[in-house]
């Protein structure tokens, strides 16, 4: 509908610019960042709106090939787009982007960017690959890079040691890594985090025998075969002075890995006493043996176990934790302050409640997704707590998605006992990234 004047002059042209800046911003925010750039080139006002959005919203940018598939997305335009983004951008993620686009930046200096993720296409056919020379390019173009993640790249690792400012390195599904390049990497870089855990090809993966040469490491994620390829590096890892978290992915050797780290005979002096947290998620068929090894971590304060159903998705087939093995474990791990047994079927409440009796510092008991025999668990827990005259703070019991009904929090008995037991039916535990088969050790520092 157009408006006309009384003198019947030419009608006013309908234009997007009739909208105010607030509405234009709402529209433009729904476009991808390259579309935003293109629309900002069309008109001063739109440019101003885009700049206002970019001032706060493009610190982290994801670039994908499909964003540039229009015929007008020439190389010159891509380069101009990146240069326009650079004043605002600190983190760049390239998802299955054509590596030739990255190479267009080779003469640029983008020193504001500190985080880079290059997530290559797992479908390798016909694609130009990210290779060693591209690592050199990254070193030139992003001189202040602190965090780098490379996935599905065809690199040997040759030039990674040239990334002098790097403190976090993640290598995922890079099948051509060569072990001898890692010596320089670990000696020259002051890495805080190193992650090579996910999808390393077991046929051609690298030996990390020199990992201990990097004394600045705080977080390490590796697979079980990295611990003992040519030689066992477990002892050296446990001696790293700043180590805070050690995650080890294991498909078939969970007990072996745990024994290497937890048994006092195997670990360097005091190493087992330094481990204050342990987390595991996965399916095990011998929890008795698992708990035997775990019991060696006498100073453990936080224990987190996530069971998985044998039958996926239907809520049935939860793994059973027997009372006897739980009771035995409670005798050993008396320093626990947090105990999370999520997604299990308890033989009866007795086993878990032994921890309430014996762990005087226990503050959180998390039975999310577990089958605990319902309200009986709560009443028996209260019975134990009511006798603990030394207890200064209530025990928190997390029951979300368990077989304890959430309305129990409103029961008179629970309301009267809130200074002993505080039931939380809403919280989910802190570990959202519970990848199956990962043993995570957290160290006291």
């Amino acid at each position: 509908m157009t408006s006309t004047t009384d003198r019947d002059t030419a009608p006013t042209v309908t234009s997007l610019l009739q909208l105010n800046d607030d509405v234009l911003a709402l529209i433009i925010r729904q476009l991808n960042v390259f579309q935003q750039y293109e629309i900002g080139r069309l008109n001063r006002r739109l440019e101003s709106v885009v700049q206002t959005i970019w001032r706060t919203r493009v610190r982290s940018v994801v670039l994908q090939d499909e964003m540039f598939r229009r015929s007008t997305a020439t190389n010159a335009r891509f380069l101009a787009f990146i240069l326009a983004l650079v004043p605002h951008m600190q983190r760049m993620c390239c998802q299955e982007l054509d590596v030739r686009k990255l190479r267009l930046l080779s003469s640029q200096n983008l020193d504001r960017i500190t985080h880079l993720e290059w997530l290559g296409d797992s479908n390798r056919r016909g694609r130009v690959r990210f290779v060693d020379e591209d690592v050199r390019l990254i070193g030139r173009v992003f001189p202040k890079l602190r965090r780098l993640k490379l996935r599905n790249c065809q690199i040997t690792g040759k030039y990674l040691c040239d990334l002098e400012q790097l403190s976090e390195l993640c290598l995922d599904d890079c099948q051509f890594l060569e072990s001898h390049h890692f010596r320089d990497l670990f000696r020259q870089l002051r890495l805080r985090k190193f992650d090579i855990m996910e999808d390393c090809d077991e046929v051609n993966c690298c030996d990390l025998v020199d990992l201990h040469l990097c004394p600045t490491l705080e977080h390490i994620k590796i697979a079980d075969y990295h611990l003992c390829m040519e030689s066992d590096i477990t002892q050296q890892l446990l001696r790293l002075p700043r180590l805070q978290k050690l995650s080890i992915y294991s498909k078939n050797f969970v007990f072996d890995v745990l024994a290497r780290i937890a048994r006092p005979a195997n670990s360097p002096a005091r190493a087992a006493t330094l481990i204050e947290g342990f987390r595991f998620s996965g399916v095990l068929h011998d929890y008795g043996r698992f708990f035997q090894e775990l019991a060696n971590l006498r100073q453990l304060k936080r224990l987190e176990l996530h069971g998985q159903s044998d039958d996926e998705g239907d809520g049935q087939g939860l793994q059973v934790l027997g009372d006897q093995i739980l009771s035995q474990l409670s005798n050993q791990l008396t320093s626990l302050t947090e105990l999370r047994l999520c997604g299990y079927q308890l033989e009866s409440p007795s086993g878990v409640l032994e921890f309430v009796t014996k762990c005087r510092q226990l503050k959180i008991l998390d039975v999310t997704r577990s089958r605990c025999h319902g309200e009986l668990f709560v009443w028996r827990c209260l019975g134990i707590l009511s006798k603990q005259r030394w207890r200064a703070e209530p025990l928190e019991l997390w029951i979300r998605q368990s077989d304890i009904k959430s309305d129990i929090v409103h029961s008179p008995r629970c309301l009267d006992s809130v200074r002993l037991l505080r039931i939380d039916a809403k919280q989910i535990g802190p570990s959202l990234d519970c990848k199956s088969g990962v043993l995570k050790f957290i160290f006291v520092r």
């Binding site: 509908m1 529209i27 476009l31």
Partner: protein, 155 residues
């Protein structure tokens, strides 16, 4: 916060006057969706027989906004963005609306703070921009005046 406190007799309609002086009688439950009007009434501690002036809104647009609010209320289960997008397209097709209608609706939604209409309308325009094959096509489609010299962008 509702417009109808429990201890008051519930008023059924609110009168909204558009810029031409036309008065629309709008059910209170629909006015709840118009944040600006809702807040005005709450601040006034309403005697809802007052007429609310809406100087920036034309009568035909107000009619469409009311129709939208009724659609949203009647289809309250359909809260997904794509369902609201479909409703918005149906609204336009019923009114045989073109871009001018869309723009006026969005300006009204922005003024009246009808969040659902704003979301659906901006999504509609964002989708239209995305379907354009080139920047020039966007320019032609939406009549954007070119006031940036070309050498400012080309490296």
């Amino acid at each position: 916060m509702s417009l109808t406190p429990d201890d008051c007799e519930e008023p059924k309609f609110v009168q909204l006057k558009t810029c031409e002086g036309f008065i629309h009688d709008v059910e209170t439950c629909l006015v709840e969706q118009m944040g600006t009007v809702r807040d005005m009434l709450l601040l006034e501690c309403s005697d809802s027989t007052d007429v609310i002036p809406l100087a920036k809104i034309e009568w035909w647009i107000m009619k469409m906004v009311i129709h939208w609010c009724r659609l949203v209320q009647d289809n309250s289960a359909q809260k997904e963005a794509r369902d609201r997008s479909s409703m918005f397209i149906e609204l336009l097709e019923e009114a045989k609306g073109d871009d001018e209608v869309v723009f006026q609706l969005l300006l009204a939604a922005n003024y009246l703070n009808v969040e659902s209409l704003l979301d659906a309308g901006t999504q509609y325009l964002a989708d239209a921009i995305t379907t354009c094959g080139s920047a020039e096509e966007i320019r032609n489609r939406f009549n954007l005046q070119n006031d940036i010299p070309s050498d400012e962008y080309e490296p």
